[in-house]
């Protein structure tokens, strides 16, 4: 569908070139009556995942506010890079939006040397939509019960404790690496693939001791007593797990991080369109139903005060993770 639409746009572009004057006039009009055709949100992951979940939750309200149909296109592959590449090359007319996240935007550019997209240059951020803090979980039989005990335990056994992660370049792995550095711990990284499920299963089965997961994938197991939570990576405690102290509280202020999701548009999209989209997204994220549905799954519904604020947020986030990546030397070429 994207392919046909791109082809159709290429054709439309050729016709428009024949009359440059008309083009200028019509594009000015196109901006003022934006949107006048369906909008596509490219989700770079498969249906059923966290990104798809966020996109589908905000789809109906956003569509209502913009007065246009919104189509969600799942273009998964290569850790989200396939969809990101496609979105970056789409026409910057406000009809193709990209649901970026911490992995695609802040981490992948520093891990995949072959990645052609430079997210910070090729996209203009519009607004963050969802924020999922990290949760440090461990097998209930693992002796330490909080971060302080964990640090003592690992320091007494350098190189003996294993931690799992949903993937080499996953934010959860980097969260652990960043904490490990801050606390000066020597642990062995055991990467998994295919989402948080298989890794969580092995922590539950006691094959690996601990890991960071997003709150959304860990909260039920913690509440059910199959896993214990040692800390959350937020500044303040989270409402769903009021008994779990933050990493900051326990003396590790650098361990503040989250998995975020946000809307970006291809660079070159006219400012009035960005502003219109931003306003609609902020309004969407205020919706009580959406906030409640997200909260049920441990996700916090948020929005950025302005596109510029979101840009600053992403830049800081990217700088943080690229620093961790260079330090530990994860590199794929």
């Amino acid at each position: 569908m994207i392919a046909t639409r791109l082809a159709a746009r290429r054709f439309a572009g050729a016709v428009a070139l024949l009359a440059a004057g008309i083009l200028a006039a019509s594009s000015a009009r196109a901006q003022s009556d934006y949107p006048n055709q369906p909008i596509t949100i490219i989700v770079p992951f498969a249906p059923g995942g966290a990104s798809d979940f966020a996109a589908r939750l905000l789809q109906p309200r956003l569509s209502e506010l913009l007065g246009q149909q919104i189509v969600i296109e799942n273009r998964d592959g290569a850790a989200g890079n396939v969809g990101m590449d496609l979105a970056a090359r789409a026409k910057p007319d406000g009809y193709t939006l990209f649901l970026g996240n911490v992995g695609t935007v802040s981490i992948n550019p520093y891990i995949f040397a072959s990645l052609r997209v430079k997210p910070l240059q090729d996209f203009v951020p519009v607004s963050i939509v969802a924020d999922t803090p990290g949760l440090l979980i461990a097998n209930p039989a693992f002796p330490p019960n909080n971060v302080k005990e964990l640090v003592e335990y690992v320091k007494a056994r350098p190189g003996e404790v294993n931690f799992a992660s949903p993937g080499t370049g996953s934010v959860n792995r980097l969260e652990m690496e960043s904490f490990r550095r801050e606390a000066g711990l020597d642990m062995v990284h055991v990467p998994y693939k295919g989402g948080a499920g298989p890794a969580t299963a092995d922590v539950m089965g006691g094959h690996v001791s601990l890991m960071f997961v997003t709150i959304s994938s860990g909260i039920n197991h913690v509440k059910g007593g199959r896993l214990k939570a040692l800390g959350v990576s937020t500044k303040e405690r989270v409402a769903q797990l009021p008994d779990v102290p933050t990493m900051t509280e326990q003396g590790y202020p650098k361990s503040v991080s989250s998995s975020w999701q946000g809307i970006l548009v291809p660079a070159g999209t006219p400012q009035p369109i960005i502003d219109k989209l931003h306003k609609a997204i902020v309004e969407t994220m205020k919706d009580e139903k959406i906030r409640a549905r997200m909260a049920e799954s441990g996700v916090i519904a948020v929005s950025s005060a302005s596109p510029a604020e979101f840009k600053a947020y992403i830049e800081a986030d990217a700088a943080k993770w690229s620093g961790v990546i260079t330090e530990i030397g994860v590199k794929a070429d």
Binding site: P47, G194, N220
Partner: protein
């Protein structure tokens, strides 16, 4: 008694007209897309998942489960009729099912597949209802080392699939494993054998290789032998299984169900591992193993029962612990989350209607599948009486659509063409494609679990013999190897003696 009440609640949910209708719709859609080569259960559910978001939770889950069974079963249909295993677990079905079809027993093969699937589905549903929580604990005990040993055992069993040269079969398994290493390495993030093409980052899709080697390669070999002037089917006999047929399928179906129910609990390749270990078992148990690969009915009944049972028990870790054991189950969890539900132990207590409704609908889904497919068998078999010169261009077109639709990527079609050429060459060189596909499926899991087990043990290989589960599989694997190699040595020695005597 409590179980009875629970099941009663389940059936009261699943048997509402609306839920029955959604279940039937799911089975129907699943079967249609499943028959299209290339699109297996994962792709089918991904495509249709958004449709279910608008439905109530029980209807959505029932419909998705229906799509899953339908797609799984549809894959077997094409495997039997035209030697196109639409998804990984029907690779084994293609071996003897297709040979049965070539001998005019397509109807019987399809009926066998449907009936043994239904049998397995029924038993597996009972297992889930009775023992789901206990079995989930067993699945958690499986660590990476245990899983590695199981996979190793599985690969050695894969050699039994071959009916030709053992050396060539092992070689094809290794080629498959090598193909499986393409893509981003999960442990280091390094891109292996991707030739700088981003689309290769996730490796090659199973369907691309299957469509290429089986679909395109097989068609080219048929044409090369001048097969286009033939009609595919000569003299249909035995649409329905006779009493002797039923007697010969019942034991394999029971054994397949048992193996499948166990292996389905494990993450990853449950149904695949189940279907071909059952095949290997049946071939070893058979009085005349040479019939296998030439249309043995046990070679359809056992694996079909096994993969269906495994597909069913794969729900257990998802339903009881909220842990997905396969891509399909991850999609199911996504669907639950969209409904505002979180899968896990609390699902059973908080929403018993949903939990038991789903279990009841599993059985109903299997029933619908039989009801839908038994009458269809006649139509499928009629389709085979179309002259081959008209049938095979249609198969080629379906292959192309199927392969293209996986990722809407033309590169996949190009790759399928290349594998078609390779498949034809292999065919002429008497190398069989099934071991390659199994190596391709199991290879990445073997590498992953081997590396993970050694990471966890900090490099100590003793981990594979210290863990009882792992040790048992290694001993089994060793025994199997002895069984495999012994006759070869005997033959060589016999030859040597004969030559010495001359």
């Amino acid at each position: 008694m409590e179980l009875f009440n629970d099941l009663l609640l389940g059936f009261s949910i699943a048997l509402t007209p609306a839920n029955l209708a959604y279940g039937f719709l799911g089975v129907l859609l699943g079967t249609i897309i499943g028959v299209l080569p290339g699109l297996g259960p994962v792709a089918t559910i991904s495509i249709l998942l958004p449709v279910t978001f608008a439905l109530p939770a029980s209807a959505a889950l029932i419909m998705l489960a229906g799509i899953y069974y339908g797609a799984q079963y549809g894959g077997s249909t094409t495997a039997i009729l035209v030697n196109l295993p639409g998804e990984s677990s029907s690779v084994v079905t293609a071996i003897d099912g297709y040979q049965m079809a070539r001998k005019g027993r397509a109807g019987l093969a399809l009926a066998t597949a449907a009936l043994s699937s239904f049998f397995a589905g029924t038993i597996a549903t009972v297992i889930i209802a009775v023992a789901a929580p206990a079995l989930a604990e067993v699945a958690l005990d499986f660590g990476p080392a245990d899983y590695f040993s199981l996979m190793l055992f599985g690969l050695i069993a894969a050699v039994i699939l071959a009916h030709g040269s053992v050396v060539k079969a092992v070689g094809m398994i290794l080629v498959g494993i090598l193909l499986g290493t393409m893509g981003i390495d999960a442990n280091t993030g390094l891109e292996r054998f991707t030739f700088g093409i981003p689309a290769f980052g996730d490796g090659i899709d199973f369907a691309v290789i299957a469509m290429g080697m089986f679909g395109i390669g097989e068609t080219i070999s048929n044409l090369e032998r001048g097969g286009e002037s033939r009609t595919f089917l000569r003299g249909v006999r035995g649409l329905w299984p006779s009493w002797t047929d039923i007697k010969s399928i019942i034991r394999p179906a029971i054994r397949g169900t048992a193996l499948g129910s166990c292996l389905g609990l494990l993450p990853g390749g449950g149904p695949v591992l189940a279907s071909f270990s059952t095949y290997a078992l049946e071939k070893k148990l058979a009085k005349d193993p040479t019939r296998f690969g030439k249309g043995a009915i046990e070679g359809v009944a056992g694996p079909e029962a096994a993969n269906n049972a495994a597909a069913q028990t794969a729900f257990i870790p998802m339903l009881t612990l909220g842990l997905p054991s396969s891509a399909v189950m991850a999609l199911m969890i996504g669907a639950l989350m969209m409904q505002g539900l979180s899968p896990g132990p609390q699902l059973m207590t908080q929403r018993p209607d949903l939990f038991w409704g789903l279990i009841a609908s599993m059985w109903l889904g299997n029933l619908m599948l039989v009801v839908l497919n038994l009458p269809l068998i006649g139509i499928w078999v009629k389709l085979l009486s179309v002259p081959y010169r008209m049938l095979y261009p249609a198969i080629m077109l379906f292959c192309c659509i199927g392969v293209y639709s996986i990722h809407n990527n033309a590169l996949d079609v190009t790759m399928a063409a290349l594998f078609g050429g390779f498949g034809f060459i292999c065919h002429r060189l008497r190398c069989e494609p099934a071991p390659l596909l199994l190596g391709f499926i199991l290879g990445p899991m073997i590498e992953e679990t081997l590396r993970r087990a050694l990471l966890i043990s900090h490099g100590d290989p003793m981990v594979f013999v210290q863990r009882p589960i792992s040790l048992s599989f290694l001993i089994l694997a060793f025994c199997l190897l002895v069984v495999l190699v012994a006759p070869m040595i005997r033959v060589t020695r016999q030859k040597a003696f004969e030559e010495g005597a001359e």
